[in-house]
Every structure is written in structure tokens, then in C-alpha cells.
């Protein structure tokens, strides 16, 4: 039971952070290896705001805003010019690796490599069917639910949401039907990185904050994206929960250190057997 709860908590974090990775992957047709480092960046901004006296709730918003600003800046300076040059998928992947190195080491440069925690009171967990749940874990699950619901409304009800879906479906069709592609891509970054940032701050609540926290989240995120079908946000959410659960449940039989390997094995199996993902999506 304890493992199931831990799995759900980690799973919902993987889910909300991976949505952005999935959307960008499909719309811009490249794997953003720096996505995990945006997650870590957000956690550190929240840490900074929080330790300089801000309440964690407002620190949360500051972190999301800062991450979005950084993401939009990168779109303007790097990704948009590269798209104009018709850069290949491979070029973009290698650039994202460079960006990942830069971001992570800026965090190390400023805050050092050691683990940090938010400045919040430690509250005791309560018993639930023989398992201990901390208030922070409850907070994470509730926040994830709200974010996913908000995303659903955005994608299905608003014009921008529909344009985002149209773009990830077929970028050329979207363009000739009069959608302002660059503007919608910008919105895709805003929503994707906003969610990633929210996930990063929440992740910091349930584990410690470390510069490589995003790196270790990257493989589970890839696994969730591939499991759910690239570009399918609902599939990614389900994939994230499945990966989170299987990682935690694996600790019942395997050493804890192999958690990471579980998502790798699941991902590789899906790639080999059903590369379009178990919930459909892009080929």
C-alpha cells in the first residue's frame, strides 16, 4: 500500500512534467533533452524565492513564471531561428543536450551540488490503510489533479488549445488553415514548460532538491511519453502514472537503486513491441 501511494505521487509528477516533453516532441518533432533541467530549474527558483522569505505558494507561481520566461527566451533565441534554417531533428537534439549541460551547471554554479530543502515546517504523516501519507504527498496529488483538469479544459474548450492540438496533429494542415504557427508553438512551450515547472516544484516537496534531479527524471519522462504515444497528453498522463507505480512497486523485489532501470526496460519493450505507444498516438 505504501508503495502504491509513493508510486501514485511520483507517477503524477512524472505525468505532469512529461506532458510538455510529449507536446514539444510531437509539434516541433524533436526530443528535448533539456526538459528535465527546466524541471530542476523551477525547483531551484522556488527554493530561492522560498528561502528569501516568500511563502511556498507564491514561490510556486514565481518558479512557473520564471521557467516560462526562460523557455520563451530559448524559443526566440535558439529554436525559432533553427526552425527557420530547416535544421534537422539531430541538430536540435544535440543543441538540447548543450542546453541541458548549461542549465544544470548554472544551478551547480549558484547553489552547489548538495541537496537542499524548502523552508517549510515538517508535518507528520497520517495513517491510511497501514500506510503513511505525508500532507505534502496529498498536496502533490491534489495539485496534479487540478493541473490536469485545467489542461483538459484548455485543450478541449479554448481556441488556443484546439490550435495546439491541430498543430501537433499536422503542422502543414494547421498552417494552411490559417493558424499562426509560431504563436501556437510559443503557447505550446508556455503550457508545456509551465506544467514541467509546476511538477518540478512539487517534486522538490516530496524529495530533496538537487541539480541532477531533472536528469534522473528524464528517463522516466521519456518512458511515460513513449508509453502514452508521442503527442498524446492523456496517454502521457496514464504513462506517467504507470511508470511511477512500476518504479515504486519494483522496489518490493529489486534493490531501490534499480528503480531507474525499470522505466528503461518498460520503455524499451514498448519501443520494440508497439512503438506508437499503448494508447495510440503518433508513429
Amino acid at each position: 500500500m505504501q508503495l502504491v501511494i509513493n508510486g501514485l505521487v511520483i507517477g503524477s509528477i512524472i505525468a505532469i512534467t512529461a506532458i510538455g516533453l510529449s507536446m514539444i516532441y510531437k509539434t516541433l518533432n524533436f526530443v528535448n533533452f533539456a526538459h528535465g533541467d527546466f524541471v530542476a530549474f523551477a525547483a531551484y527558483i522556488a527554493l530561492f524565492a522560498n528561502t528569501s522569505g516568500m511563502h511556498l505558494a507564491s514561490a510556486f507561481l514565481v518558479a512557473i513564471l520564471a521557467t516560462i520566461v526562460l523557455g520563451v527566451f530559448m524559443e526566440k533565441v535558439v529554436w525559432h531561428p533553427m526552425r527557420r534554417k530547416n535544421a534537422s531533428r539531430t541538430t536540435l537534439i544535440i543543441i538540447s543536450i548543450g542546453l541541458a549541460l548549461v542549465l544544470r551547471n548554472i544551478l551547480i554554479f549558484i547553489w552547489g551540488g548538495s541537496t537542499r530543502n524548502y523552508n517549510i515546517p515538517v508535518r507528520r504523516g497520517f495513517e491510511f490503510f497501514g500506510a503513511t501519507i505525508t500532507p505534502n504527498q496529498v498536496l502533490v496529488i491534489i495539485a496534479a489533479f487540478i493541473l490536469v483538469f485545467a489542461l483538459h479544459c484548455l485543450l478541449s474548450r479554448t481556441k488556443i488549445g484546439k490550435s495546439i492540438r491541430a498543430l501537433s496533429d499536422n503542422i502543414d494542415l494547421a498552417r494552411i488553415s490559417g493558424i499562426d504557427v509560431d504563436r501556437v508553438i510559443l503557447w505550446t512551450w508556455v503550457i508545456g514548460l509551465g506544467l514541467a515547472a509546476a511538477g518540478g516544484v512539487l517534486y522538490g516537496l516530496v524529495t530533496a532538491i538537487r541539480p541532477d534531479m531533472g536528469w534522473y527524471l528524464l528517463l522516466p519522462m521519456f518512458a511515460a511519453v513513449i508509453l502514452g504515444g508521442i503527442g498524446n497528453p492523456y496517454g502521457t498522463i496514464a504513462g506517467g502514472i504507470i511508470i511511477g507505480l512500476s518504479q515504486e512497486l519494483s522496489t518490493a523485489v529489486l534493490p531501490t537503486e534499480y528503480k531507474f532501470a525499470v522505466s528503461f526496460v518498460v520503455m524499451t519493450l514498448v519501443l520494440l513491441l508497439k512503438p506508437e505507444g499503448i494508447f495510440g498516438g503518433a508513429k
Binding site: V78, I94, G98, L101, A261, T268, L271
Partner: protein, 305 residues
């Protein structure tokens, strides 16, 4: 004057030693990426397999030469194992799977202590001719040995990539569909390229182990793979000569930045981070403005799809 030589000579020897190891490691990746177009983000895994196999064979009583051969063969074999399921996948999937493979391997090396001594690492294994060469000249001897190996690997690779086999590789890189329409088994050629590239990385692993005479799993972090990527892109993709020059430039940069530490108000870990920021920016800027590298030819780029 004499004193300068006494300090400078070992320093230059060290840089050249590290450069030759990185050069061979990167030449393996250059065959895979530069000539075949495979995105291998887990190249460091084969460096680790080569190093650990060599060391463990030697520790269980095999002569050094046999151990190194075992390291090379096993690295190539793991390249085959990794390639069979993954080389049919799209290039970005290959990138994800290979980087995952190298991290999972590192976790296995860290945790299976009965086999690898885990985080404590392994030392006390044999080094080539260590009983014959006087200790103070050992690095000079190693450097000569490594330069000879580098020259052999370089000429072997040059022959390979200029052979009909190498031309098929390039044609696959440029257009997979055309090569398979001409009756070439694209998958098999890619597999061969990955195997040979991995075997070369295995050789570099053995060389690394002999040089530092101590290995532990954290010697083989993913960043080493990206060092090789930077070396190749710096020198010019699909240029073996460029890769060697790239390795020399990169390793000189690494050690010089350790040197200028004294003039900058950074702590040791800040200096390390600063160096990585420069490397990351360099990678981004090269890919954005000069993807053909310093010595590469623009037409040798598999980036225009």
C-alpha cells in the same frame, strides 16, 4: 630553464596521454555518427565495458594482452546486443535507448558489488610492462605506446571508410532508402558500424584503466559520451583527422581551465560547473552556426533531411 622543462614536460605528457585516449574513444563514435549517422548517446557504456572487462580478466589471472582483447571483443559484442533490437528504430529513439543503456549499466556497476566492488572501484591490476619500465619513465612509455595505438587505429579506420564498405555506410547516412533500394542490407551495415565503434571504445576503456590505474563506476558518467560528441563536432563530423585534433584541443582546454582557476574568484566546484557551462554553450553555438566543425566539410553532413 631546466626547472621549467621538469614541470612542463610531465604536464604536456599528461595532456597528450588523455588526448590520445579521448581521440580513440571519439574515433569509435565518429564511425557511428560521422560516417553512419547513428545517434549513440551511450558511447561511454562501451568505454566502461572495455575497462571493466580488461581489469577483471587481468585480476583473475589472464595475461594483459588477452585481457585487453577480451575487453575489445566484449564491447563489440555488447554493441551487437544493443544494436539488434534498436537499430531498426528511428534515430531519436536510438538516442534515448542508448543513453538509458549507459545509465543502467552504470547502476549495475555501482550495485553488483560481488562483481565490480561497486562504488569502491578496482585498483591493483597489472599495467603493460610495469615491471620493466622504471616508475619515473612510465608515463612517457605509456604515451609512446598510446600514440602507436592511435596511429594504427587511425590508419585502419581511414582504410575502412575509404573502402567500398565505408562508402555504403556514407550512403546509408545520406539516404537510407537509396542504399536499401540498391540491395544493401542497411540494418546489417549499421550493426557492423556500431560493433566496430563499440569495440574501439572498449580499447579506449582498457587504455584509460591502465593510465589512471583505478576505475570506479563514476568514471563512466554520461558526460563522457558528450565529451566525445563535442570532440567530433569541434574537429568536424566524419573527419578522423579532425577528431584527433578535436581531442587535443578539447583536452588542452580542460587542463588549461584548471590552470586559470587561480585567476578567477571561483571555488573548485564552481570552476567545474563553469567549465561545463562553457562546454555546453560551445556545443550549442557550434551546432547552430558551424555544424561542420573546424576541419569538416559541409557536404559531409548528415543534417540536411
Amino acid at each position: 630553464m631546466i626547472e621549467y622543462v621538469d614541470i612542463l614536460l610531465p604536464y604536456i605528457t599528461t595532456i597528450l596521454l588523455i588526448s590520445s585516449i579521448y581521440a580513440i574513444f571519439s574515433l569509435g563514435l565518429n564511425l557511428e555518427w560521422g560516417f553512419t549517422g547513428l545517434i549513440n548517446f551511450g558511447h561511454v557504456a562501451f568505454l566502461a565495458i572495455g575497462a571493466y572487462t580488461t581489469v577483471m580478466f587481468n585480476m583473475s589471472g589472464f595475461p594483459l594482452f588477452v585481457s585487453v582483447i577480451a575487453g575489445i571483443v566484449l564491447s563489440g559484442f555488447f554493441g551487437l546486443l544493443l544494436g539488434i533490437p534498436t537499430l531498426r528504430l528511428r534515430e531519436d529513439y536510438l538516442a534515448i535507448v542508448t543513453i538509458g543503456f549507459s545509465e543502467v549499466l552504470r547502476f549495475i556497476l555501482l550495485n553488483e558489488q560481488w562483481l565490480t566492488r561497486g562504488p569502491f572501484g578496482i585498483h591493483g591490476f597489472g599495467r603493460p610492462l610495469q615491471d620493466v619500465i622504471p616508475y619515473q619513465h612510465y608515463n612517457t612509455f605509456l604515451l609512446i605506446l598510446y600514440l602507436v595505438i592511435l596511429v594504427i587505429v587511425y590508419f585502419a579506420l581511414e582504410r575502412l571508410v575509404r573502402s567500398p564498405w565505408g562508402r555504403v555506410l556514407k550512403s546509408i547516412r545520406e539516404d537510407e532508402a537509396v542504399s536499401s533500394a540498391l540491395g544493401k542490407n542497411v540494418f546489417w551495415y549499421r550493426l557492423q558500424s556500431l560493433m566496430i565503434g563499440s569495440a574501439i571504445a572498449g580499447l579506449a576503456g582498457a587504455m584509460l584503466a591502465f593510465y589512471i590505474s583505478y576505475i570506479d563506476p563514476n568514471t563512466f558518467k554520461p558526460i563522457e559520451t558528450f565529451h566525445a560528441w563535442i570532440i567530433i563536432i569541434l574537429g568536424g563530423t566524419a573527419s578522423n583527422k579532425g577528431t584527433i585534433v578535436g581531442a587535443l584541443v578539447f583536452c588542452t582546454f580542460l587542463s588549461v581551465t584548471q590552470f586559470i582557476n587561480r585567476f578567477l574568484p571561483f571555488t573548485a566546484h564552481q570552476m567545474g560547473a563553469f567549465r561545463m557551462i562553457v562546454i555546453g554553450l560551445l556545443l550549442m553555438i557550434l551546432m547552430m552556426y558551424k555544424p561542420e566543425g573546424i576541419f569538416g566539410k559541409k557536404e559531409e553532413l548528415a543534417l540536411s533531411d
